[in-house]
């Protein structure tokens, strides 16, 4: 265990979780200067870090390209098991890191809720989201029939153009929702950054991983 991360390869998410993650790694004693300054490079072999979009972290960790990784609970849920008992991504979820806190919400246009109106008159509501599984599961669990419209970009546009009555999306401050005249109708769940591990690395590099987990926990994660 000669390096601050015990020679483990770590999948680091770019985007909203990036700065919190880099701070966390710096806290472990890793030299993160190049990681902070070079946002085009993807692979930092000398410090054992690979960077990617958060939704790719489970893919690389599951395949063993990284021993451990950090990603949002929203990503894990969206790629997780579709039904109880079914298999999702085969990664172990080791630690709630606490940062990157945001809420998955159901939102619709301000004023009388168009989703309620649609359910009453048409029996089905249309919902736009980047998280089709989380949305479908929530609506199913709350006993509502819904048509899920998957979009890749700004979800807020969909209800404004009238193609859907509501959206399911992640929000940290609610600013974007407000600016688009949308209001939160339901909070579905709170998501934070999670530490995940490859199942085989969790056995073959048990001491290395346990040590990192213990130090992160001690650091208040």
């Amino acid at each position: 265990m000669n390096s601050p991360t015990n020679g483990l390869t770590i999948a680091v998410p770019r985007g909203a979780l990036f700065s919190g993650t880099v701070d966390l790694l710096a806290g472990l004693g890793l030299n993160t200067d190049e990681l902070r300054s070079n946002d085009r490079k993807l692979l930092f072999a000398d410090i054992g870090v690979i960077t990617m979009r958060p939704s790719d972290v489970p893919t690389y960790v599951e395949a063993g390209a990284a021993d451990i990784g950090i990603t949002g609970k929203d990503v894990l849920l969206e790629q997780g098991a579709e039904a109880p008992g079914a298999r999702g991504r085969a990664v172990y979820e080791l630690l709630d890191l606490g940062y990157g806190r945001c809420t998955m919400v159901l939102a619709s246009k301000a004023g009388p809720d168009p989703a309620v109106e649609a359910l009453r008159r048409l029996g089905v509501m249309r919902v736009a989201t980047k998280y089709p599984r989380i949305a479908a599961r929530h609506l199913e669990e709350t006993g509502r029939q819904a048509e899920i419209v998957e979009v890749k970009g700004s979800v807020e546009l969909a209800p404004l153009t009238g193609i859907v009555e509501a959206i399911v999306d992640l929000t940290a401050t609610g600013t974007t929702l407000r600016e688009n005249n949308l209001v939160v109708r339901e909070e579905i769940l709170v998501c934070t950054a999670r530490l995940v591990a490859n199942p085989v690395a969790h056995k073959l590099k048990a001491a290395e991983i346990d040590d990192v987990v213990a130090r992160l926990r001690a650091a208040g994660a």
């Binding site: 072999a45 063993g64 085969a90 172990y92 999670r194 969790h202 056995k203 346990d210």
Partner: protein
């Protein structure tokens, strides 16, 4: 013309077949040498027969009707068909019985993941040999078989399927909370496990043990200071360890958190890992109640290896790359990047 085949299935052409054949020949030689006779069983069975086994997640995924309206299912493993064979064809034979197989099994897969629906499994079943001797024999055959294929860096994770349920029982975890805890552990969602404990109002030392014990894994030293509630299962693992020959013992990682989502496992369970692959190559364990469900009460143990995964691991070791190997040499990694 391109004529498609179902996703998750594939054609195996001569170059690959030659390599796969070398692997299965090596395995077969070891199985035969240890007295395991090879069997074939039908890929299609009556669903009602396979359903006796309570396979949970690994239950058969593909069913058809025959001309009389019976429901037939494509087998999802070979353990259940061999349990049927033992109860039907060996109803009065003296145990122990030893069988090996090389057979395709069929699993349902999540969409869009490219995982195989049809997989070639190689394995053994040892019927009528109780713990710990039977378990030790299975682990020994497993190591000899992997050695014969030329796989070098593999390790065997060994745990006990009864450990966590016993731990919950002796810590007085309410009955209705147990399924959720076990389910979180099967997913190895330790955050979820902590959450489920908090939700069921389990706190203090009990909660700490339920999170801590399943994370203990390593050499035989982890079997030393086990908390009392897990004592029975751990005593069983110690018994196995004492009987292992040194070369096999050196391959074993004891893992108190190993659990299975297949219902029929009862005692020791194991997984095969290799640093060249990010997922287990195979696994097995004791299923002392399964034969009873088919009418012949006999303790049993077995394992199955995914031949394709074994092939990938062998190729990875040969190249010196693969899932967890690639980064041992940072220079090589840069070349690849």
């Amino acid at each position: 013309m391109i004529h498609p085949i179902p996703s998750g299935t594939r054609d195996v052409l001569p170059d690959e077949t030659r390599e796969v054949r070398a692997i299965t020949d090596a395995l077969r030689g070891v199985f035969e040498r240890h007295g395991y006779g090879e069997v074939y069983t039908p890929a299609l069975e009556y669903e009602s027969v396979l359903e006796r086994a309570d396979m949970a997640e690994a239950r058969p995924a593909y069913r058809v009707f025959d001309e009389s309206g019976n429901v037939l299912a494509l087998r999802s493993d070979m353990t259940v068909p061999i349990a049927r064979v033992v109860a039907t064809r060996y109803a009065s034979s003296d145990p122990p019985l030893r069988f090996c197989y090389f057979a395709h099994c069929y699993r349902g897969v999540p969409p869009q993941r490219g995982q195989p629906r049809e997989l070639l499994q190689a394995g053994i079943e040892l019927i009528g040999s109780p713990a710990p001797q039977g378990t030790v024999e299975a682990l020994t055959v497993l190591c000899h078989a992997l050695d014969a294929t030329g796989l070098k860096d593999y390790r065997i994770g060994v745990g006990d399927a009864s450990l966590f349920p016993a731990l919950m029982a002796s810590l007085d975890v309410p009955q209705d909370a147990r399924a959720a805890l076990l389910e979180a552990l099967v997913r190895r969602d330790f955050v979820g496990l902590g959450q489920a404990l908090a939700d069921s109002g389990i706190t203090g030392e009990a909660a700490e043990l339920l999170v801590d014990v399943p994370q203990r894994r390593g050499g035989p030293e982890i079997l030393a200071d086990t908390p009392a509630p897990a004592e029975d299962a751990v005593t069983g693992l110690r018994g196995v360890h004492e009987l292992l020959e040194p070369e096999v013992a050196a391959r074993v990682i004891f893992d108190l958190g190993l659990v299975r989502n297949i219902g029929y496992y009862t005692g020791a369970i194991f997984d095969v890992y290799d640093p060249a692959l990010g997922a287990p190559i195979g696994g097995g364990g004791r299923y002392d109640d399964l034969l009873g469900r088919f009418g012949r009460r006999l303790p049993a143990v077995g394992f199955a290896l995914g031949v394709d995964r074994l092939h990938i691991a062998l190729a990875g070791e040969e190249r010196g790359t693969g899932a967890l190997l690639a980064r041992s040499d940072p220079g090589a990694e840069r070349e690849g990047a």
